[in-house]
Symmetry: none
DNA sequence: TACTAACCGAGACGGTACGTCTCGTCTTCCC
DNA sequence: GGGAAGACGAGACGTACCGTCTCGGTTAGTA
């Protein structure tokens, strides 16, 4: 039934999806999250507004798909030999990700959405954070941490937070380079 | 000259400032940043819309002042005896600030619109970051840091970032308590 | 081409035109030209404000159409047998038109804003004056006038002006009845 | 009492009256009745807004005094030898008066005010129309009119109306010159 | 080949916030 | 107490975007 319902009638034009997502990314960089509007995306993509609403229920959904459906290589921190190296690589990866202009523009909206929708929070956490997190936890346990799970979470919070702040509020290069040196999760207080 | 220019005409009613800022804080908590509108603030504060625009050029400026010009005791980190203590107090203070409901409500939207208001961006650093920053820099210099200015900035970025992430994305109590222990700005790599 | 351009998109709802024009007429009588506002018309007609601006670029245009596009029988002077009869019928028709309460309410404001809307000024002549004017010109030429075009225009100016003055400033019945007798466009000086 | 009340305190600056009236006349010509605003008059006259409201209760009152407190010679039709000559002179005088740009701009407002305030209607009629009217009535009686009073009123209505229409809606020179020839108040139908 | 359901663009719809403007009043200091 | 400067509440202005809808016209797969 579902299949027959789906396949009946004219199928959706996949070119519209691509054009809309690209237009969304471009406009996000050009005018920012606040001034981004569905009508502007539709105009830029040479697409009718209903075609947009048929695919994404709101501006937020569209932006998320436009920004976070990248096909990059997966988090390259899984084989870090030490916690220090894990931290170094995590900073490099996260800084690089948050430096992309469309990501910078979309981040605040993402934060707001995560705050208001705990289900997405856990989903993103699972998809994006967990693999690297378990790696770090193992490293810390091997290095003698008494509470490796907590230490790993706290470390990741710090990495993400620092990259977030420097991405949104600016940060000089020397400061960015210095960040990894300050984190010592396995040093006793 | 300045004084005569200042005192000419009817002076602005300071009660309007208070009412508007309070209404802004209330509405932030009730309806959130997105649905917060100047007209709603004006209505709630029993104030004309032009009176609002006379004082703040945009919603961003108004919310900024409503959220970040609290009358609490001034940053209580100025007399910290060691960098470790400074970090502990900064975490406590910032976590407390970011836990206030109107701050939680305003943060993402505010961050998004900081992109278009560089003046607010610098104001944020000046008002909020600088005082404690110089204190920390002095402490680090006394404790033997080779680059105290950079280390201080990096430390503050980490503190703010971690509090931002835990405020918006949640964070368990043990993780929150562990955060200060991970930061060791004066330890050589 | 023209047809396809015409029929693209959702067609305008003709009921909105009628409701707006009727609301405009009603409000004109109730509150007068000065206190007539687009928002009041929109509210009264249960219509969005943009729907009004989509149809009429200004209050002047809207009132103009509301007042001067009546659906009465067309100007009943086209088949007048003599210039004297034409004048008699024109007076009757124009007096009747200018006696309608919404016309009385709109006239002064409309006249004031005709200054800034030359398009409405010419539209007024075209819509209201021209048909009867050519009829009168033919009659005068047949009756031996040396300058029928000028005489016809002058006659019409006099008819309209007299009705305007009596409508706005009042005029006793005997005076009104006497007006047609004074005009003799084809009598040599 | 009245006098003592009047003379108490600082006397009003008469220069303000002149400046305001002049500014009003200028602006009337430049922007028209609709877009004429009290604040614009105050700015142009280098005068505070309250000083305006202290003198005139509304824009209408100010405009009327600005436009209709002329010191021209009185109506020069009192000694016309015939009704034809009276009509000729009346047209010349009225056309000249209504051609002044500030009068053109103020006329619609005047009409509206006269319509809504019958007391002013009779006052203006008495001051402005009556002298010439009685002259015309005498001439018509002498020339054999059966109803000289009615004929005189009807004639004046026609003169004023025709000048009003040509002033507001435009009128070519030949038409203007032709107007007096069409009026024959003492010709029997 | 014809039917039909879902797509497409264009654009109108009611609603609502925007930021500006003018209104007429009020309040302050100066003369 | 008059005068200027200017803030005040009220409210209309015309524009923009929201998300929905209604068109005429396509574009498939099914009958």
């Amino acid at each position: 039934m579902d299949q027959s319902d789906r396949s009946r009638g004219r199928p959706r034009d996949p070119a519209i999806d691509d054009a809309a997502l690209q237009a969304c990314r471009d406009l996000l960089v050009e005018v920012g999250w606040d001034k981004l509007s569905m009508v502007a995306i539709a105009d830029r993509a040479n697409v009718g507004r209903p075609a947009l609403y048929r695919r994404w229920p709101s501006k937020t959904h569209l932006v998320f798909e436009a920004v976070f459906s990248w096909q990059d290589d997966p988090t390259p921190v899984d084989d870090a030999p030490t916690s220090t190296e894990w931290i170094r690589r995590s900073f490099a990866y996260t800084q690089n990700l948050f430096a992309r202009p469309e990501v910078r523009a979309a981040l605040p909206g993402l934060m707001a959405s995560l705050r208001d929708h705990p289900d997405r929070q856990s989903a993103l956490w699972k998809e994006f954070g967990l693999p690297g997190l378990s790696t770090l936890e193992s490293l810390l346990r091997a290095e003698g941490s008494a509470t490796p799970a907590i230490d790993a979470q706290a470390t990741m919070v710090m990495v993400i937070g620092a990259c977030l702040v420097t991405s949104l509020l600016g940060g000089s290069s020397p400061v960015l380079d210095r960040l990894p040196d300050l984190l010592h999760p396995n040093k006793n207080p």
